[in-house]
Symmetry: C2
Subunit: 290 residues, 2 copies
């Protein structure tokens, strides 16, 4: 069994981006990070993104509207960032508090600056295999981890558990593309799937994105499979100072010995998401400059 280290792969990507950004003359790429309110998880996510941007040489512009901002005020704020020629990418940290309409805000971001890949146009471009779009960061990170671990999906059966718009559907569309590394045969399972273990056991590559701790057990995994664990779940742990620890959707201790390769949690898919956000920001900058 080989551990696929998201920490290592993300660090490699960040290094590559640092070199790329250093080669840009003139203005550097700029990412606007919009965080509404002070939700502690959002504060920490935005801080992490800001720190990684700084490391790469991407300018970040932090915008912190109060929780009391109205939908139309937030839309005006987005419109201004869309119109601002010095901004290449815009990220609105999810979840938005209160009654704010998140989908409407995601759609307000110009598709050309939508480095989160949540805009309808970018999801459509993913289906159309149009590379001028932005794939959302977690699915793009999964594909990058597979590619850098020399897992070619061609002729492989990829089983995705979870049909969310943020992970399940886009990663299925990416795995299916007619591109080198992709060309997988793809099955998407979910809460309404009958006899799920019979399907997951067929997976050469199993992508677990359910959001339930330890949901994937050893009997659900074929010997020699590659397992990508997208889940990040908190479980109580009195031995930790925080009182909890993070675990994935896969019962790691029981499953990992059966696998050819597996991602850990933490340190697997998680760190890839921020790296891919930066990659999308640099791509937006390049498209914007050209």
């Amino acid at each position: 069994m080989e551990l696929i280290s998201g920490n290592q792969i993300a660090a490699d990507i960040i290094d590559e981006l640092k070199t790329e950004v250093a080669s840009f003359s003139g203005r550097k790429p700029c990412l606007a990070l919009v965080r509404v309110g002070d939700d502690p998880a959002s504060v920490s996510y935005v801080k992490k993104k800001e720190k990684t941007a700084a490391e790469i040489g991407v300018e970040s512009r932090i915008i912190l509207p109060p929780e009391t901002i109205t939908q139309s005020e937030l839309e005006t704020l987005i419109d201004d960032l869309n119109a601002d020629d010095g901004v290449d990418g815009i990220l609105v940290q999810s979840p938005l508090p209160g009654d704010l309409d998140e989908l409407a805000i995601f759609r307000r971001v110009s598709p050309a600056k939508d480095v989160d890949g949540f805009h309808t146009v970018n999801i459509g471009k993913l289906a159309q295999e149009d590379d001028t779009g932005f794939a959302s960061c977690t699915p793009a990170g999964i594909m990058e981890m597979l590619a850098r671990s020399e897992v070619d999906l061609r002729g492989k059966h990829v089983v995705v558990v979870g049909r969310s718009l943020i992970v399940g559907k886009p990663v299925a569309l990416l795995a299916l593309q007619k591109k080198a590394g992709a060309n997988g045969t793809v099955t998407i399972c979910h809460s309404a799937t009958s006899d799920l273990p019979a399907i997951t056991r067929q997976a050469d590559v199993l992508i677990a994105a359910i959001g339930r701790a330890g949901f994937v057990t050893a009997d659900m995994v074929k010997d020699g499979a590659v397992v990508i664990d997208v889940g990040i779940n908190r479980v109580p742990d009195s031995s930790r100072k925080s009182g909890y620890r993070l675990v994935g959707d896969v019962e790691f201790d029981a499953v990992s010995p059966k696998t050819a390769k597996i991602t850990p949690v933490p340190g697997g898919v998680g760190p890839m998401t921020v790296a891919m956000l930066m990659k999308n920001t640099v791509k937006a900058y390049r498209l914007h400059q050209s």
Copy 2:
């Protein structure tokens, strides 16, 4: 074995639309049909659409630019139809001749008038399960046939053979939706799939959209499956006046006795496509009026 008659279901839908359109006071729905050049197949498709529109009471506006039209002239023509308040739906008959960039033209049509469902935004909306979009006609027709034949996909394994943007991908996204009738577990296979028969034999519902005559043979189908044959292939037949006959992607004579339900070719998915185009046009009209 029960034959799913696309002819009958399409006729029912057309009847329903006729009643619905008759109830509209004032202006009737209007569909612009743009056919560039005189390709015989395109001539016959557009004629069929015009005839069905007339039957329902949908006004059709036929626009026949010559093959010599330039990309920018065609784009201006589309822009004018987009701006025309009397036009609810726009269909540009595919394929476009010569060097015309079809994808760019499909994207030029306003998403709100894209009754063919080919615009990036409408494909994105399909993934987002946003009902204000338009699903492309063939996949929407397949879902309608299944619903009207009392095939509920919940808990079923749906295997789609073919990953095209016109059929395979959108029908997979539709079958996966969290809607009554859908909620299928979906596998998408294609030319790079290994051991295809082992996968198709698992299908409770098999959707064949490969474009190769008789590709799906009896050994690839489970007893009691529901089979939807999207293929329309010409094979030489000297006993016919035309010199050919139409067959599907499924070897009908050998496969049909094994199935619970199957669509014939012709008279299966084919007629549904025009019916769904009309349904989309009436939907565009309703959204446009509201």
